[in-house]
Symmetry: C2
Subunit: 349 residues, 2 copies
């Protein structure tokens, strides 16, 4: 099996996370070194036992390097990726791949000319919670799924760095949004007919500190994607409705359940008092009308992100993260920006 040697540009939170947590798990990829413009991080690279290149040029000039990870602020992905491709390296970009679909098209053209592979680290396709939701959709355990709500809530605001600024590609649409939207595009078939969106700017940054997006798929499935950084209480990570039940995943620890209609008792339940009023509609279903089921284990993907990158480069394997999918994702994000600017929903596909 051919081994690949790798380097990282941008040794911040994400770059060093790849170095410590992700690349060591890759079977046939070895991290040699990294470059960062910050002297303290250059020192950290050396302290971590890697080659600390004195410049990006020096990194790209190293003939041992097959593959470069770009883990810088978002506005730097394009020039750094193009430089690496032109230097004959394969490239992985942190998400969002680029600032716009046009940027990605430009990079893909360069990759094609250079006969090199370009990848985007859409790693949350591998998240255990998302794999559980995938199995629920594919197994029809709650019937045909017609609504998926995907939320990530925090209370820390936007992290205190370049992510505060639109010009560097900051904001939550380009941060968590990219992940959550990618998951749904990957999971569900067919075109998205309509996009509705609202953003929060309560923290006073020039980019969004949270958003709610509604995606109407042509199939009839409707999705809500929400990210908040001013939420001191979190709503469930996933809330999924099917024709025969509802599923919920509360948090990253995968607490949650499926509640499924048994079909046994279809008589209307007795009205209950709710507040000062009476409600038949909102009374709990009869006890034997529903059953509670554990969440499934989750449909696994064929291999890890890095193993797939290796196999694509060395053996022409099928990609798990396809560039046309990432291009569609960036087009969707453009549609979301358009919807938030106009206050109107926009047609998409």
């Amino acid at each position: 099996m051919k081994e690949l040697t790798m380097a990282i540009v941008g040794y911040g939170g994400m770059g060093s996370y790849h170095a410590h947590a992700l690349i060591p798990d890759a079977a046939h990829i070895h991290l040699k070194g990294a470059f960062d413009i910050d002297p303290a991080r250059q020192q950290a690279i050396a302290d971590d036992g890697f080659v600390s290149y004195p410049s990006y040029g020096a990194l790209l000039a190293d003939p041992e390097i097959d593959l470069v990870l770009v883990a810088t602020p978002n506005d730097r992905h394009k020039p750094l990726a193009i430089q690496a491709l032109n230097a004959g390296k394969h490239v992985i970009s942190e998400k969002p791949a680029m600032m716009s679909p046009a940027e990605l098209e430009e990079v893909l053209a360069v990759a094609k000319d250079a006969h090199r592979e370009f990848f985007t680290h859409q790693n949350r396709r591998w998240d255990p919670d998302f794999r559980v939701i995938t199995e629920i959709v594919e197994s029809h355990s709650i019937g045909d799924v017609f609504r998926i709500e995907s939320r990530v809530h925090g209370a820390n605001g936007i992290p205190g760095d370049w992510r505060h600024y639109a010009k560097y590609g900051g904001g939550m649409i380009r941060d968590w949004g990219v992940h959550l939207l990618d998951q749904l595009l990957f999971l569900l078939d067919g075109p998205i007919s309509r996009v509705t969106a609202e953003t929060s700017t309560i923290l006073g940054n020039d980019c969004d500190d949270g958003f709610t997006v509604r995606l109407d798929f042509a199939s009839g499935i409707r999705c809500v994607v929400e990210v908040g950084t001013t939420n001191f209480i979190s709503l469930p990570r996933w809330y999924v409705k099917g024709t025969k039940g509802t599923a919920e995943i509360i948090d990253w620890d995968l607490a949650g359940e499926q509640v499924i209609a048994t079909g046994v008792d279809t008589t209307a339940p007795a009205p209950i008092r709710a507040g000062v009023g009476l409600t038949k509609t909102m009374a709990p279903p009869a006890e034997n009308a529903v059953r509670h089921a554990a969440l499934p284990a989750g449909t696994p993907l064929a291999e890890s992100f890095y193993d797939n990158v290796h196999d694509v480069i060395t053996a022409g394997a099928a990609r798990i993260v396809k560039n046309e999918e990432v291009l569609r994702l960036l087009r969707l994000i453009d549609a979301i920006f358009q919807a938030t600017e106009t206050g109107q929903s926009v047609g998409f596909e």
Copy 2:
């Protein structure tokens, strides 16, 4: 204190609930009798110890009756209210007051000419959960509230009667929607600049079986109002965000809490692993950065709905439910229907 004598037209679930649960608590209102077109319900009226009038005409011809409650399907509110007003009775209508703002304007004109009072039973202004939210907003316990999400979720579908049909005024917008929207209009000041809405028709009725509405107030406060009848798991009844914290009420039993920033520790928390990735943004705040507080008791209203009705009629007291508020509510519902038909958000006020 002048006593009022009352009758009910429509002795279904709501009419009989007024008879058994609400009117007995009114200090100076006495229920004499009722009329229903259904013979079985006519018998129930008598069995319950009330006068079972043989016709609506006979009810209105009874000179002892001061006040009539209309608790019929929604499309019948207008003709029955007008008949009663013209017979010299004061009228309470179940919600929604009327099928349209135009209908309500017509009824209010009749009431004015007849020198009689018309009321709408917007009783959920008295709901304990709503009074708690009112206190949270008014006390600024979580800072300035900028987002309110109000949800009611059930799994029973639309109740199996006239509420299935648009022509009778069925659907959830005209059912729970009227209540939840009324609460927010009553709570929050100032105009609503924009209305965005989506409906669910997954059950195949010709009216909505659930909906999500977004109200953008000119003040900057944004509200989400959601009703579902195909939700086997319920999201929290209330989810409220303020500049200093978040509050949540889970269900009718008022379980829930406020989580409030202490301002003590503003350092960013350490990144956590979430799924296969790393997140600083979504890491829980440091332990001393927030405190958990019980929900407040709730701001009480001056008097009960029926006591207020009595005092308005007999002593010209100020109304708690004002007709111009109900008219605005019906106009908002028209805007919601418009938004759902066009798929676009609409300007409102």
